[in-house]
């Protein structure tokens, strides 16, 4: 309790179980003021539970958390006054129109009649919902509902926003629109905790990434730091026939050969020099290479390497992702 708790999001030693199932296991999390942190993990990792605790919807069993300096457990109203939550399941009123939903938020934030109406019009225009403003939500697309959902969160600009899987189920175009909106919020200095299953989303948006697996934070850092944890990428040499493949495999005994696809996979760091050297060697041995592809590590590799390891969780019986990690 005496810990300096900052202006962003701070969580220390947060635990939470549902029945016998330990969903959050001593989780620490820091989101510096004005930054975006992505909480990444597979389904059931505990991401939504973490957001529910931080947004005062459910209590933690133990541990502490502060939002903009307010203790989640002892000052929930202080927390509620500064946060905005856009949940995984859209938190909109389906029997009202888009405009009525926003007006409802404006009224509950006590904006006053004129200021409220102005703000509603502003948000409708900003989120490209003006044309659909007076239609019932049953006629809204998934992307429109998410935009309305987020607009409702922003009726009075919150200092801290929780975005729980904001693009799940959206088409690629709507996803990009949401990304642009989220970047804009971050540029305005809002602190954002984003949960997602999509690593490209975390890579695109987040300053830092925390990987949650079976209730534990198993890795934390900037996207670049996490990628650096996976040693180098590899080159794939594609050959015209088995003879060439065989000859090349003889030349490079450490490389992995795939006779079915006529591919030789060579560990390499992806620099131009290493590529030139390899191709020169093939050239000198008069082995024709049809095509070369380069694979550099991305967050998917990091993710699989971290969460796929059978030593990360207490549930040894569960299937791991190790088997599908790499050929």
């Amino acid at each position: 309790m005496t810990e300096r708790n900052g202006d962003g999001i701070v969580a220390r030693d947060v635990c939470r179980s549902f029945g016998d199932h330990l969903v959050l296991d001593h989780v620490d999390l820091d989101v510096a003021e004005g930054s975006i942190v992505a909480l990444v993990g597979p389904n059931g990792a505990g991401k939504t539970t973490m957001v529910r605790i931080l947004s005062t919807l459910i209590p933690a069993d133990s541990g502490s958390a502060w939002i903009a300096g307010c203790d989640v457990a002892t000052d929930p109203d202080g927390v509620r006054a500064v946060i905005g939550v856009t949940g995984q399941f859209s938190a909109v009123d389906n029997l009202l129109t888009g405009r009525e939903n926003l007006q409802l938020m404006a009224d509950l934030r006590h904006l006053g009649r004129d200021a409220g109406r102005r703000r509603v019009d502003e948000l409708l225009a900003h989120f490209e919902l003006t044309d659909a403003a007076d239609r019932p939500l049953s006629l809204y697309s998934g992307g429109m509902r998410r935009r309305l959902d987020l607009a409702m969160t922003l009726v009075t600009p919150p200092r801290v926003i929780f975005l729980d899987e904001p693009t799940t189920g959206l088409d690629p175009r709507s996803r990009r629109t949401m990304w642009a909106i989220i970047r804009e919020l971050a540029a305005d200095g809002v602190t954002i905790l984003l949960t997602t299953q999509y690593l490209d989303e975390a890579d695109q948006l987040a300053d830092r990434i925390a990987v949650l697996d079976r209730g534990r934070i198993v890795a934390e850092g900037t996207p670049a730091e996490l990628k650096a944890r996976i040693p180098g990428g590899h080159l794939r040499l594609h050959f015209a026939g088995p003879d060439q493949l065989h000859a090349a495999a003889g030349l490079l005994p450490t490389a992995a050969s795939d006779p079915d696809q006529l591919v030789l996979q060579v560990a390499a760091d992806g620099t131009a020099d290493s590529l030139r050297e390899l191709l020169d060697e093939m050239h000198r041995a008069r082995i024709g290479v049809e095509r070369v592809s380069i694979h550099t590590p991305d967050l998917d590799d990091v993710f699989l390497a971290i969460t796929g390891s059978p030593t990360t969780g207490p549930f040894d019986g569960e299937p791991t992702l190790q088997g599908v990690a790499r050929p």
Partner: protein, 265 residues
């Protein structure tokens, strides 16, 4: 603004939301208004001849109409309770409630919005029923004071049962359960003095009818409208109403504040 002013303001906003819901979901309102009218027609024109003869009056059917209208007021209240329970349960399954719970608003306003919205809906349905009853030839000796007293009693009773409906809606695991549980209240209306005099029932049933909340309520309303006097039944009815309201309010707010998120991760 003070805390009280915020609570009132938030409740008014939630009331407006619920009134809009009623307009957008008219089948519920139609059921609430229509069912008592259908029962009124059924009881007066199908059963009314024989049941009216049992009242020992000269014009049986006509006398039965006067007798049964207060009973149908209570059917209307019971129907409102079922509608409220369904609306609350539906509301709780949507994500909007979680949004409300993460906002700095008066928590109880979500519930008071439902209660006030349902109360207005019930009073409107009662007004329609009164109009239909007069159209069929309902006669009353009641003056304005007696009418006001009857409306006040019905509003108080409806208020209490609507809080019960909110609690039942919150306690229900699904919208189906929320729709079924209040059926018990309909049964209570039939097992009261709403449709026949309790003294015409067999011994055990008569005692049950005497000690359940709908009978004093029907007797009080009937007494006020037919000028037959209400005796201590009004006191019993008010006591029941206050008791049900207080218990249901405490139960409902506890359920709402303690409500856990359904999704475990």
């Amino acid at each position: 603004m003070t805390t009280l002013a915020y609570t009132l303001s938030d409740s008014r906003v939630m009331l407006r939301r619920n009134l809009k819901h009623q307009l957008r979901y008219p089948s519920m309102t139609l059921m609430l208004v229509g069912m008592p009218i259908v029962l009124l027609l059924l009881f007066v024109y199908v059963f009314g001849g024989q049941l009216g003869a049992g009242l020992g009056a000269h014009e049986g059917r006509r006398a039965y109409l006067d007798f049964v209208v207060p009973g149908l007021f209570l059917v209307t209240v019971a129907a409102a309770v079922q509608g409220t329970s369904i609306m609350v349960a539906m509301d709780m399954t949507g994500g909007i409630i979680d949004r409300f719970r993460t906002m700095a608003i008066a928590r109880v306003s979500v519930l008071t919005g439902h209660v006030l919205g349902s109360l207005i809906q019930t009073l409107a349905a009662l007004a329609v029923l009164v109009g239909v009853a007069f159209g069929l030839g309902f006669r009353t000796a009641a003056g304005p004071v007696a009418w006001l007293a009857a409306i006040g009693m019905l509003a108080l009773f409806a208020f209490a049962l609507i809080w019960l409906a909110v609690a039942l809606g919150l306690a229900a695991k699904s919208v189906e359960t929320a729709s079924n549980t209040p059926m018990v209240l309909f049964l209570l209306v039939f097992l009261s003095s709403a449709f026949v005099r309790a003294r015409s029932m067999p011994e055990g049933l008569r005692q049950f009818a005497g000690y359940q909340p709908f009978s004093p309520m029907v007797d009080t309303t009937r007494g006020l409208l037919t000028g037959g006097g209400v005796g201590n039944q009004a006191v019993v009815a008010v006591a029941w109403s206050i008791g049900i309201a207080v218990v249901s309010y405490v139960w409902a707010t506890r359920l709402y504040n303690g409500r856990r998120a359904a999704d475990p991760s």
